[in-house]
């Protein structure tokens, strides 16, 4: 088993920051069960599938792994994978803080303008763990609904939490550019 220390060493060797999102992509390839650990099987089979058998090859592969995030389909898979990977073993839901961290990481890549509001909202109003359904539906929401909410459909079978988020945004006067006008949120 490789744990956090081992991973830090690995990151050193391949010259990647352990917080770098490409580590997530790597974990995805390895079908890792939980973050911050790789089993021997996961590690070796993962590297095999990537065709990596040396550190150099590893370093070379990094950019291409990074670019996988730009692919819609792959991004979705990686995003959904992230839920199971980031949550505690044996838990059904993802702890809020971890979820927020993951979202900020993932959406930095994907550029969803409302990600900060979403995280603020959750901390202010929800304060509970995130269910798998909410997690996966959020991506759909970010992709299909514009950030000024003009095409948000209240009958659209969005999870309740997302409906509440929309209400929260409306209450606080989100203008066209996705900026909240309410200064009390600082």
């Amino acid at each position: 088993m490789i744990f956090a220390d081992g991973i830090t060493l690995l990151c050193n060797d391949i010259q990647v920051d352990p917080q770098d999102i490409v580590m997530l992509v790597l974990s995805w390839h390895m079908k890792a069960g939980t973050m911050c650990e790789f089993s021997k099987k996961e590690f070796t089979e993962g590297l095999q599938s990537l065709g990596i058998d040396s550190l150099d090859k590893f370093r070379e592969k990094i950019p291409s792994m990074r670019s996988e995030l730009k692919d819609e389909q792959k991004f979705r898979e990686i995003y959904n994978f992230a839920f199971g990977w980031a949550k505690e073993k044996g838990q059904k839901s993802l702890a809020l803080d971890t979820a927020i961290g993951m979202w900020q990481l993932l959406f930095a890549e994907k550029q969803w303008p409302l990600v900060d509001h979403w995280c603020q909202f959750l901390q202010a109003r929800h304060n509970k763990a995130i269910s798998r359904d909410t997690w996966s539906q959020l991506l759909e929401f970010a992709k299909t609904v514009s950030s000024n909410l003009s095409d948000y459909d209240a009958e659209g079978a969005w999870p309740y939490l997302i409906d509440e988020f929309v209400d929260y945004l409306k209450e606080n006067g989100v203008n066209q550019h996705g900026q909240i006008n309410d200064s009390s949120l600082n």
Binding site: K92, S131, Q137, E155, P159
Partner: protein
Amino acid sequence: MSNQKKKHFQIEAFKHKVVMDPKYPDKTWKILEDAIHEIYNHNASGLSFEELYRNAYNMVLHKFGERLYSGLVATMTVHLKDIAQSIEAAQGGSFLEELNRKWNDHNKALQMIRDILMYMDRTYVPSARKTPVHELGLNLWRENVIYSSQIRTRLLNTLLELIHSERTGEVIDRGIMRNITKMLMDLGPSVYEHEFEKHFTNVSAEFYQVESQRFIECCDCGDYLKKAERRLNEEMDRVSHYLDPETEKKINKVVEEQMIENHMLRLIHMENSGLVNMLCDDKYEDLGRMYTLFRRVTDGLLKIREVMTSHIRESGKQLVTDPERLKDPVEFVQRLLDEKDKYDKIINLPFNNDKSFQNALNSSFEYFINLNPRSPEFISLFVDDKLRKGLKGVNEDDVEVTLDKVMMLFRYLQEKDVFEKYYKQHLAKRLLSGKTVSDDAERSLIVKLKTECGYQFTSKLEGMFTDMKTSQDTMQGFYASHPDLGDGPTLTVQVLTTGSWPTQSSITCNLPAEISALCEKFRSYYLGTHTGRRLSWQTNMGFADLKATFGKGQKHELNVSTYQMCVLMLFNNADKLSYKEIEQATEIPAPDLKRCLQSLALVKGRNVLRKEPMSKDVVEDDAFFVNDKFSSKLYKVKIGTVVAQKESEPEKQETRQRVEEDRKPQIEAAIVRIMKSRKQLDHNNLIAEVTKQLQSRFLANPTEVKKRIESLIERDFLERDDNDRKLYRYLA
């Protein structure tokens, strides 16, 4: 033998030439022409029908039909022109009479002429395609008399003037009117219509337009409707007496349009006398009239219904949101029933039991009853009041009537599960305090609820009745097996099955020694026959009868709650007790204890205890004494308070919360049921189906349903479809 040629016997045709007298047609025609003159001059009696017929016959036979016919036309035309002149000459009133008389004469003449010329009518006329005699006579009359420029307009105007004067109250000669109109009808279908009817309807329209305008300025709604009705009747009368029946629907339409349709809204909304006033004052006659009249016009009833509906909704809304009214729940519900009765009567009688009105009434009631979230509670309190005392001494049929009325209100409730919760609480109190007026009435209502809502609604309620019965049997068994207890206090225990009765938190208190010993005996007795069960005493729900002797020897029987009993029994061993001592000894929770002491010391007529100081509230430093000066006119004094009452604010919140909690599993069960049978269903349809299924109990909140769906997704009962995120699939 002879060789003679046989001669055939021949008969030769008669070759005698008949030479017709060249003057024959003229001579014969002359005879006939004269005859026609005589006929028109009323001298027909001297004529020989047979001779004339024969002459006409011969003319036709000898191919002089043409001559005969054209002669006829000419002669009749001449006569008719004369007639027209004499009619034109008639003055004033005799114009119509003259016309009528000449018409009759003409008809008689025509009849005779036709009879004479019958052979021509049957042979020459059809083959030459000429107009038959009778019809010819009518046509000529029409052309020469009716269409004569002097007569035509005068006739019309005369008729219209007469009708107008009849409308303004004068009496006219209806017989003659009848004859004239009949004449017009006989002259051809469009003659009546063009010469009279269409002008008649136009003029009538103007007349009624003016009249309706006049009336509406000066009459109130009821009067106006009476007048309109009268006019309609008059017109019908007119038609039946002297107009063509076909005119009826045309003139009706005119009057309806002018008098009713054009003023419909103004009438309905008329201040102080319009529809709303009629409804409020139960003006059955006026309402009935309005209904019958407005029914005749398009949208008439619709308008009435609309205004009635919005009035009922408005006044209903005021009723249920008026804080004064809400102070007494029983009164409140009674008012609702009274309103319903009132409108039922109105719809029944003046509104002819019209179903669409009945529906409007129902939807209005449903609307405003549910505006007040306390309606379910209040209806239950109303029932409680009736079953507790209101129906005392009432005969069976009337009881049924009252209960049916309650059921009718119940049906309007959208939150039937809230009603169920309150009903259960109130029923529990009634059963436990033994304060129900009639067991039969109770059961009857349960049956009605079961019919309305199904077995599930009432199974727990029935369980409560069963428990009461079983407890009776248990008590009998208890005392039978403990004959030694005859002298001590009498204990009556009701054993309540936890699931059936409203949930109570069981807070016990310290019972007086004699009682708790008895209770223990009962407990061991019961558990002896029912192993595996657990009994917990609900001391906040019981009551006791105490025999008390006061300072001056006055004896009373006090009916008190269990808590009150615990407190009072302490005074058998002490004259003065402080609040703290009482609290310690009884272990009754503070808010209940304070209420209990208040009811024992601070209520006039029931103050068996005395408190020092004499302040209004019970506080920790108070001291209590038996009130030796206690007096009451009654021997039996009731102090216990186990009566159902309107809930306080916090209690209300708690009940509502419990109801909301109870709804969650019901919603989930419905979702699972539906998804299991459909295997997959999209979001909106699922919400619709769930709402429909739960409708008979409560109105499901779509947000709540959504939350339940998500919860079920989380627990792997359902999943979203990969391609269509709005589609849910059932996971077996």
